[in-house]
């Protein structure tokens, strides 16, 4: 890996851009197969009820209907690491929109008509929508049969006979002594709302079960191996009998990680005699039943010294997971320990509660809790700075983790890019100069871990013409992974960028990979690809040495050729070494790479301790400048400055694209987005007319700053980038609002109404 880099650090044309501008990129909903049926789902109109009876007879009589299924046909449950969710409701429904039955028919009209004719007799149960209520003893239990579900007891602790499926505990140092030592104590409660992922492509899947017993899913699935695994366990099948193929994905953001639209489609495909079934979700279904970024309440109490040093913190975090676990237990763990923020705090006590409610299921969202936690801890940090009359940048600089410091869980992270991102952001914001009149501004810092343990693998095969096929299960969903993985393979193999073809995301072809999530792909899959390319390169050198009759150590590999170092007229091309065609003297070249970060450790579920719980961290600093109209409460964003530690910038434009998109999501969710439910648990705004997402007219200029603090284990030093840009923006906006007009908003989104209420220009909200 020494020597000048040819491909890394540049921004070549994205490998899939041409297909996309031509309109030729195939998404799941574009797929059509011979003898394909169309599916529709009947859903629960009630938030909580037992199912007395399901009458499918009228649906079965509709012309063109080929299969109708309900819960009793598929008595399986999924979700890792807590298998609580049925494919179709069994005996009980737990949220409005839960799939109860499904229909496959010759055309979509017939499927929808039949779905509308399914008659379900319900007996309504009391619904519980507020997680604080749901936690109380005596609250109606969503899952009385909880103890019968399989769960991974090493990972989380439930509270028995309650709706709390996970209680995460972290105890570090001596909190009481820390508070006793403190000069000042600050307290605050911060609430992040529920919002939708907002991917423009609604979920879609085609499922086929061949009579020989092989199932294939063509699905908008971020994490094909993760989904295949979960499905295989549910069905009791070996994973290899489930093939997940992911075409292009029209935005994921976590909404398409793990089983989402697949279970009802699989339920149907098991009953259609081998005919494929296509299920395309409506926007309303996406809003009401395909996952949500759940609401979170964070209570913080922090003891500080007069000089600004943080000495103690308690945090209580309540995670609303909705009706089923999905990622809840791990989100509760990773999110809750992140409530520390990127700071050195010697004494801490954190309690995170993940709570069932009768609502759409919370799924992963880009940042996995760090948006919500950073809204809390960075709002809180400005309140502390204000209380101590300290400069907000100075107090952060003083407390930020640096190399050698210990995190909340007892980890000593490497290559910490917090101070460098803060310095760069403050400089770009001209923090040391007075702000423009009428403006408010703020700077916040965040840190986000990545999932561990977390394996990836890749094969690289040389083609007849000397080009390389890279087999990789990282899924392209807009983040640019195909281009970056191509760059890494080309660099490490010594090939030209244009000679590398990425073959992505088909579990029958591309080898195992945990998931496309958690900003993990550049680091984990990147390392696997570098190893596979290195392996291929070794084979290339062996063969070239034979062909050129020159010892290996005299050879250089570059630009898809092997050169004799001291005589560049003597060389051979990769094509001469390929060994693909019949009669070739050489055997085929196949490189193999497998990677799992070394020495990552599990958590102690009693203390929250974990000496290395992540292979790397994302370090970010976000600056915002805005103004507020005191008469209307309207916020106008003037600029966002977004600084991130990439470790090593593999592709500058792709990184900037991630930053711009992530920061825009931060702005949109801080100001506008809110999934609103009525008292009966029904979503009131399940469409883009009533649910406001930022348009081209709402997003201010976004300045990206890329800082490189190389990670010793990252591919060429790289860390991840995807999730950092969404974090911190909401707190920066809240802090800048206070800087501008002197009022603090602690519950998201920050709407004009809330600002006017805080200013006393509107009466307080009635609960």
């Amino acid at each position: 890996m020494s020597g000048p880099l040819n491909v890394i650090g540049r921004s070549p044309q994205q490998v899939d851009a041409l297909e996309k501008v031509l309109g030729r990129a195939t998404f799941a909903a574009d797929i059509s197969l011979p003898r394909m049926l169309h599916g529709a789902v009947a859903r629960s109109p009630l938030a909580h009820a037992t199912i007395r009876n399901i009458d499918l007879s009228a649906a079965l009589r509709v012309k063109g209907v080929r299969a109708v299924v309900c819960g009793r046909d598929v008595p399986y449950r999924y979700n890792l690491p807590l298998r609580d969710q049925p494919f179709l409701a069994i005996d009980r429904v737990r949220y409005v929109g839960e799939p109860v039955a499904a229909v496959a028919a010759e055309d979509l009209d017939a499927a929808r008509e039949a779905a509308s004719l399914i008659r379900v007799e319900y007996e309504e149960l009391p619904a519980v929508l507020d997680p604080a209520q749901a936690m109380l003893s005596g609250a109606p239990l969503l899952h009385p049969e909880f103890n019968k579900y399989w769960r991974d007891e090493k990972l989380f602790d439930p509270i028995p006979n309650s709706n709390v499926l996970s209680h995460f505990k972290l105890r570090k140092g001596d909190v009481e002594a820390g508070f006793a030592e403190a000069d000042e104590i600050f307290e605050g409660t911060y609430t992040s709302q529920a919002f939708n992922h907002g991917a423009i492509e609604p979920h879609a899947v085609v499922a086929q079960v061949e009579l020989a017993g092989q199932m294939t899913l063509w699905s908008c699935q971020q994490s094909p191996w993760f989904a295949a695994d979960d499905l295989a366990i549910a069905l009791g099948w070996p994973v290899h009998r489930i093939r997940v193929v992911t075409p292009f994905i029209g935005g994921g953001f976590g909404a398409k990680h793990g089983l989402k639209a697949e279970p009802p489609a699989v339920a149907l495909a098991l009953k259609t005699g081998g005919r494929p079934v296509k299920l395309v979700m409506s926007r309303e279904e996406v809003f009401t039943a395909l996952g949500v970024r759940g609401a979170v309440t964070v209570k913080l109490r922090t003891g500080v010294k007069r000089d600004g040093r943080l000495v103690a913190r308690t945090a209580e975090v309540i995670w609303d997971t909705g009706a089923y676990a999905d990622v809840g237990p791990l989100l509760c763990r990773n999110g809750s320990y992140s409530s520390t923020g990127p700071y050195r705090i010697p004494n801490q006590s954190i309690d995170g509660y993940c709570v069932y409610t009768n609502k759409v299921v919370t799924s992963a969202f880009r940042s996995y809790g760090t948006m919500e936690m950073s809204f809390a801890y960075e709002s809180h940090m400005d309140e502390i700075a204000r209380g101590l009359q300290m400069d907000p940048v100075q107090i952060r600089r003083q407390n930020l983790l640096q190399d050698g410091d210990e995190t909340a869980t007892g980890e000593t992270p490497k290559a910490v890019g917090l101070v460098p991102t803060l310095t760069a952001c403050a400089s770009a914001m001209e923090w040391d100069k007075p702000k423009a009149p009428g403006r408010g501004r703020a700077i916040v810092s965040t840190a986000k871990s990545s999932v561990a343990p977390s394996g990836s693998s890749s094969f690289i095969q040389m083609n007849d013409d000397g080009t390389l096929n890279v087999m990789c299960s990282t899924t392209e969903m807009g983040q640019g992974s195909r281009t970056v993985m191509t760059q890494l393979a080309a660099e490490a193999a010594g090939a030209r960028f244009e000679d590398v073809h990425l073959i992505a995301s088909d579990t029958a072809v591309t080898p195992p990979d945990r998931s496309t999530s958690s900003s993990r792909s550049t680091f984990n899959m990147g390392n696997a690809i570098v190893r596979a390319a290195g392996d291929a390169r070794e084979q290339i050198l062996d063969k070239a040495s034979e062909l050129l009759e020159e010892p290996r150590e005299n050879l250089d590999v570059r630009d898809s050729a092997v050169f004799v170092r001291k005589d560049s007229n003597r060389f051979c091309s990769f094509a001469q070494l390929a060994g693909v065609r019949p009669g070739s003297n050489f055997g085929p070249i196949v490189g193999r790479g497998s990677f799992v970060p070394a020495d990552t450790t599990a958590f102690n579920v009693k203390t929250g301790e974990g000496r290395r719980i992540t292979a790397f961290w994302l370090y970010s600093c976000q600056g915002v400048e805005l103004e507020v109209d005191p008469d209307t409460g309207k916020i106008t964003l003037h600029r966002v400055v977004s600084a991130h530690d990439t470790g090593r910038t593999l592709n500058p434009v792709a990184c900037e694209g991630q930053i711009e998109g992530g920061a825009a999501i931060g702005c949109s969710t801080a100001l506008f987005e809110d999934l609103v439910l009525d008292r009966d648990g029904k979503v009131l705004n399940p469409n883009f007319l009533d649910y406001r997402m930022a348009t081209s007219c709402d997003i201010p200029p976004i300045e990206s700053i890329l800082i490189e603090v190389p990670h010793p284990e990252g591919p060429y030093g790289a860390k991840g980038i995807g999730e950092g840009p969404t974090t911190g923006i909401a707190a920066a906006i809240a802090n800048a609002v206070e800087d501008a007009i002197g009022v603090r908003i602690t519950d998201l989104p920050i709407t004009p109404e809330k600002i006017l209420r805080a200013l006393g220009k509107l009466p307080p909200a009635t609960p």
């Binding site: 501008v21 195939t26 640019g480 694209g657």
Partner: protein
């Protein structure tokens, strides 16, 4: 119930799509988005919301941007329909908008891209030298969750410049 179970009669109609005359058998209530995708093979026309609120299905009908998800196919019989698949010229050259979207990395997941291209095309046919605000206004009905719109706006402005500088490129590519 009666209205729903009674299947309306299907009719054979001719649609002019991307300069091609396509015969399709459709029920009168069929929406243009479904007919373009299912009967005309134009899967570049994306369906994101079914409620005229995301812009992914934007096509031009007689040069005016229309949302195919709320347009009955029967309403556009006799009109010229253009999709993003018409943008490339017959000799394979990309349209300046397509080139700019690639060059400026205005594409991430690509799902909103065809609709964005058509909204951009409608703007540039109407206004060959738009300001940034005019570009932002023109695509305000097209949602994108990946890019923050930064590079899409930049690409459309760049395409306007390219087209202004090379007017001869413009006409043949826009004839449908």
């Amino acid at each position: 119930m009666d209205a729903r179970t009674q299947k309306p009669a299907r009719q054979v109609v001719e649609l002019e799509v991307d300069g091609e005359t396509i015969e399709a058998t459709i029920a009168p209530h069929r929406l243009l988005v479904d007919v373009l995708r299912d009967a005309c093979g134009r899967t570049s026309v994306k369906e994101g919301c079914e409620s005229a609120s995301c812009g992914a299905c934007t096509v031009l009908v007689d040069d005016v941007p229309r949302l195919a998800c709320i347009t009955p196919a029967a309403d556009v019989i006799g009109s010229k329909i253009r999709t993003a698949e018409s943008l490339r010229s017959s000799d394979g050259r990309l349209h300046a908008l397509q080139e700019a979207f690639i060059h400026h990395h205005a594409v991430q997941c690509g799902f909103c891209t065809p609709g964005m291209l058509m909204a951009g095309l409608a703007l540039l046919e109407e206004n060959s030298r738009p300001t940034e605000q005019e570009v932002r206004d023109a695509i305000a009905g097209n949602l994108c969750r990946c890019t923050g719109y930064v590079r899409i706006v930049r690409a459309i402005l760049a395409a306007a410049q390219t087209l202004g500088a090379r007017p001869e490129r413009r006409l043949p590519e826009m004839a449908s």
